[in-house]
């Protein structure tokens, strides 16, 4: 009986995990899309809030980290931008669009680093 309950609980967990994950991704996606809309209107602080929320909701969502990195870059928070780009690339190492953003960011970051004598 005990074995049956355990097996039932396990299978329930297995069945519901992807559903829960999908739910989190769905909410995160909503935040990401809203963030894009506000960023396009120049409201970058609001966009950062949305994308940070999306990254919290689904820490495996590379798009959230990529967008967050772009926003940090726009705000001049270069070390935070680097962290976010690296996280996005760790999640999706073959994403050419993230890679392209990161390469462009590095050019600017290197210039700033040179200025600081780092």
């Amino acid at each position: 009986m005990q074995f049956r309950s355990l097996a039932f609980a396990l299978s329930l967990a297995l069945v519901s995990a992807p559903a829960a994950w999908a739910g989190q991704r769905g909410q995160a996606k909503e935040q990401v899309e809203f963030g894009i809309q506000v960023a396009q209107r120049g409201l970058w602080k609001e966009a950062i809030y949305r994308w940070e929320r999306a990254a919290q909701l689904d820490p495996t969502y590379a798009a959230a980290f990529n967008n967050l990195a772009v926003a940090y870059e726009h705000e001049g928070q270069l070390s935070k931008a680097r962290e976010a780009y690296e996280k996005a690339l760790a999640l999706e190492p073959n994403n050419a669009l993230v890679r392209q953003n990161y390469d462009l960011f590095k050019e600017i970051n290197d210039r700033a680093a040179q200025k600081d004598g780092r």
């Binding site: 590379a62 669009l97 953003n101 960011f105």
Partner: protein, 286 residues
């Protein structure tokens, strides 16, 4: 059992007819994965957005209301007065950008001052800006061909008392001085360039070809020294190097080359004094 495995398509130990079936399955799986990847890529929606990344200035200039481009030790080219051109260009750029109030005063005779105090680098400054130059040396233009020739003048920038006095005279501005070396250069060697040709089908083909070329141009090597007009001390020093080379047969005026090279390094110079925004485009993902 064997029949059941065959029916479900499970693999068997290597043997006879199973191999082609397995290969076919692998191929179909590979095609399916490729198709899925293509669909996934097509489904990745993105949007491009313009951004402006602010880069903080190197120097904190909040203590200064005014800036004085005092002049430069310059040489190496008879066609361009690198001192005067640099002073004019920097003053106009600073005025256009509204970076502090630019003092419009005569440039300082730095070379004469340096020569006069050359024997004693820490000697007190001359009583007047117009240095007293021995008559036999007045007509003799100083020869500056390279960095080594500039070295004999460098001590003037470390003369704290002199710069403090200049600072007092102009209401304690941020003083910009330094050395500008604008020199012709000639270089020969192999250069890779693209050559256009047509293949037997009449199609245009561009092939990289290495050719030996004689080239000439200019090198610009300015050192900007930022001095605190309140104390006479150096706050920051920055050296740049830019060069341009043309085909030896091309006749390009030295002055236009000078401006082309200065154009390249001006953003970096201005960024020492004020924040700069670098425009770009990034991709946002959904």
């Amino acid at each position: 059992m064997t029949a059941r495995l065959r029916k479900t398509g499970a693999s068997l130990p290597a043997g006879g007819r199973e191999k082609p079936t397995l290969s076919l399955r692998r191929r179909s799986l590979a095609s399916l994965s490729l198709a899925l990847l293509a669909v996934a890529t097509a489904c990745t929606s993105y949007t491009e957005i313009p951004i402006e990344t602010p880069i903080q200035p190197k120097l904190d200039t909040s203590a200064f209301q005014r800036i004085f481009i005092a002049g430069f030790i310059a040489g190496a080219n008879d066609d361009v007065d690198a001192n005067m051109e640099t002073v004019r260009l920097l003053r106009s750029q600073l005025r256009n950008k509204g970076i502090m109030r630019v003092i419009d005063a005569d440039t300082l005779p730095l070379m004469e001052l340096a020569k006069q105090n050359g024997a004693e680098p820490n000697a007190p400054p001359v009583p007047d800006q117009q240095a007293v130059v021995p008559p036999q040396e007045q007509d003799k233009a100083p020869v500056i061909n390279d960095e080594k020739d500039l070295e004999q003048y460098q001590h003037i920038f470390a003369n704290v008392a002199y710069w403090k006095r200049i600072g007092e005279e102009y209401q304690q501005p941020l003083i910009v001085t330094g050395a500008v070396l604008f020199a012709p250069q000639q270089r020969s060697g192999f250069v890779q360039r693209e050559q256009e040709s047509y293949d037997p089908f009449g199609r245009r083909v561009v092939v990289p070809v290495r050719t030996y070329m004689e080239r000439k141009g200019f090198v610009l090597r300015p050192t900007f020294i930022f001095i605190d007009g309140r104390t006479g001390e150096t706050l920051h020093t920055e050296t740049f190097r830019e060069e341009i080379l043309y085909n030896a047969s091309q006749q390009t005026p030295a002055l236009s080359s000078y401006f082309e090279l200065m154009d390249r390094l001006l953003p970096a110079f201005l960024n020492t004094l004020s924040a700069q925004k670098i425009k770009g485009t990034r991709t946002l993902l959904k």
